[in-house]
């Protein structure tokens, strides 16, 4: 069922693009862009809802309710719902696009893996996924999986003559763009000390890039390329919508620094 509805159409779309461009790496990039363009409205809706939620959490009444009913979860939930209604915010509006997108993202990911077909079993399954009237197996296979210095079916390493080991360029790029993505999309940190949401967000910013970097290091480079393009496109979409927080990339001054008076350097020089 999942294969028939999601995976097979995705594989055929990916192979159709491959058939046009003749390179699997380029096909992955274009396919990811196409899927991102199709899901752009869903992403946009999610971004707007997240922003609205972040704004609402700054509302005086929200903060007061959190403080007042911190020991009464039911009452707190009631107050939050009341506030949602008053401010015209639908709490499901941010998770619905995510839920709709989830099968698309998984489908995109799985179709790339299956199209790479690195074992006889994978190859047999791939040939069975191809719509025979739409694409021609005999001309498609084998896929040209070479892209720049990478074989899309193998983990990527750039071997330079003067270094004895291969440099995992894609893994580094995935790590960096994942970090940038998390940082740039993070809402401005609240001034409230011990804000758990901010703490969670900070932890995600640290752990997720390393997880993605590790996956890019160990999995086939076709997937690492997909991670990289996805990260870049997410950043671009946030930028188009004017939601990037560039200030998050800059090192923050400590709270104490803000409060302490600056030393008079002119006197010290004397």
């Amino acid at each position: 069922m999942w294969d028939a509805i999601v995976i097979t159409p995705f594989i055929n779309a990916l192979l159709f693009i491959y058939n046009l461009v003749g390179n699997f790496g380029v096909a992955i990039i274009l396919f990811t862009i196409v899927i991102r363009l199709i899901t752009y409205p869903l992403n946009a809706s999610q971004i707007k809802s997240s922003s609205a939620m972040a704004e609402m959490q700054k509302d005086k009444r929200w903060i007061e309710a959190q403080e007042k009913y911190k020991n009464d979860k039911d009452k707190l939930a009631q107050e939050q719902m009341k506030l949602y209604k008053e401010l015209g915010y639908n709490p499901f509006s941010s998770c619905l696009p995510t839920l709709i997108q989830f099968p698309i993202i998984i489908g995109l990911y799985q179709s790339i893996i299956r199209a790479m077909a690195t074992t006889p079993m994978d190859m047999l399954n791939l040939t069975r996924h191809v719509y025979s009237g739409f694409l021609n197996v005999e001309t498609l296979i084998p896929l040209n999986s070479q892209f720049l210095w990478m074989n899309m079916g193998e983990p990527e390493r750039l071997n330079l003559g003067f270094i004895s080991f291969g440099i995992p360029v894609l893994a580094i790029l995935v790590l960096v763009t994942s970090y940038m993505q998390s940082k740039l999309m993070q809402p401005p940190a609240s001034d409230k000390p011990g804000d758990q949401t901010a703490m969670m967000s900070n932890m995600m910013t640290i752990y997720m890039p390393f997880l993605m970097g590790y996956l890019a290091l160990t999995l086939a480079s076709g997937l690492a390329l997909y991670f990289l393009i996805s990260n870049v496109l997410s950043i671009v979409q946030y930028a188009i919508m004017g939601k990037l927080n560039w200030s998050n990339l800059l090192p923050k001054k400590k709270e104490q620094d803000k409060q302490l008076p600056k030393p008079d350097r002119s006197k010290a020089k004397k």
């Binding site: 998984i106 990911y109 799985q110 893996i113 690195t118 074992t119 006889p120 079993m121 994978d122 190859m123 047999l124 040939t127 069975r128 197996v137 005999e138 001309t139 296979i141 084998p142 074989n151 193998e154 758990q196 703490m199 969670m200 932890m203 995600m204 752990y207 997720m208 997880l211 590790y214 996956l215 160990t218 999995l219 086939a220 997937l223």
Partner: protein
């Protein structure tokens, strides 16, 4: 503070689940799979399924396994080349291993391949030929020293065949090559029009080489010139290794048909519907031919194409059937065991299931 800790644990849990889902979906680690490879020599059966199992032909009990545990980097799926004094098997880490058949210990390794071995090595004359997905056909002597290499433009997924003078090799560049066995020099190349997913087969007199392609064709090629002698259009793609028996070529196809062709003329003699795709190569028993369907039916067919008996096993069958002492060995994928042995009348002799 409790709330904070709970959220922290939730976050860590989410990250762990995400990493498992992503790496699981990707087929990384041991989840990468294919179908088992089977070969037999003297009193030992060799089954490659992540690791290499050596079993006794008499009762299917385990003699040894190599290595003790599967390594995600060095999974073994291709059939082993089993000889009197050595067993040669390639892995997905690009390592070709020479294993002592008596003890199951490694004698030497050959690690020049840049990528994995999907096809099995073969012996031709005094040479061991190892086809690699890095595009090289490595010709080694008995000690693992390279004698020559032949580089095809693309990966090699199927084993070559040799008549003792020349080697016939199909590459993923859709070409069939004839190479001199003595030095690896190319004699001719022939455009097959599509890739071949099974090894070529030599005719009994060595004048023709047969090969099936993903263009739904069986080709017969003159070994002397590389010209096409005839071609036959199959019902569907052929993943089943064709074999010769009494002047006829037999193979199964993805549509579920087993076909018999006149090996000289390429004309159809009969075709029989097995009811499910036939991916594995068939074999010959004293009672007749035997084929297996992907769905798990083991079917005996008389040489005229009529069904004799059917046995159903729990699992899928993709691996070529192997015959030893008039018994057929059937390797299972996602089955209740790894390998089942039937006699010529379809009685189960033994089954082997690896220990956990």
């Amino acid at each position: 503070m409790k709330e904070s800790r709970r959220r922290y644990l939730l976050l860590v849990g989410m990250i762990i689940i995400a990493s498992l889902v992503l790496s699981g979906c990707a087929g990384g680690g041991v989840s990468m799979n294919s179908w088992p490879g089977v070969s037999v020599h003297n009193d030992t059966i060799y089954v490659s399924n992540q690791i290499l199992y050596a079993l006794r032909t008499t009762d299917g009990t385990l003699k040894w396994q190599y290595p003790e545990k599967a390594s995600a980097k060095n999974l073994i799926y291709s059939s082993a080349l089993a000889l009197d004094d050595q067993v040669l098997v390639g892995d997905y880490g690009g390592v070709l291993r020479n294993i002592n058949p008596n003890t199951g210990t490694q004698a030497w390794t050959f690690e020049e391949s840049e990528t994995r071995y999907i096809a099995s090595p073969v012996k031709a004359g005094e040479l061991l030929l190892a086809p690699s997905t890095d595009g090289n056909l490595y010709a080694l002597n008995a000690n693992g020293a390279v004698q020559w290499t032949f580089l095809a433009p693309q990966a090699i997924w199927v084993s070559p065949v040799s008549d003792g003078t020349n080697v016939y090799l199909a590459s993923m560049d859709k070409k069939l090559y004839a190479i001199q066995l003595k030095d690896g020099e190319k004699i001719w190349e022939m455009d097959m029009g599509a890739v071949a997913m099974v090894a070529p087969v030599l005719s009994e007199d060595g004048s023709l080489v047969y090969i099936s392609t993903l263009a739904n064709k069986i080709l017969a090629v003159n070994t002397a010139s590389g010209s096409k002698a005839w071609e036959y259009d199959t019902t569907d793609t052929v993943w089943s290794q064709p074999f010769l028996y009494e002047g006829k070529l037999y193979f199964g196809d993805n549509a579920g048909f087993v076909t018999s062709l006149d090996a000289i003329k390429g004309t159809k003699i009969w075709s029989a519907d097995m009811g499910s795709p036939v991916i594995s190569g068939g074999a010959v028993l004293s009672s007749g031919l035997v084929f297996a369907t992907e769905g798990g039916d083991v079917i005996s067919i008389s040489p005229d194409g009529s069904k004799q008996w059917t046995r159903t096993v729990e699992g899928q069958i993709y691996s070529n059937l192997v015959v030893n002492n008039d018994q057929v060995l059937i390797a299972l994928t996602k089955g209740s065991g790894l390998i089942i042995c039937f006699d010529a009348n379809g009685n189960q002799v033994w089954t082997f299931t690896p220990g956990k």
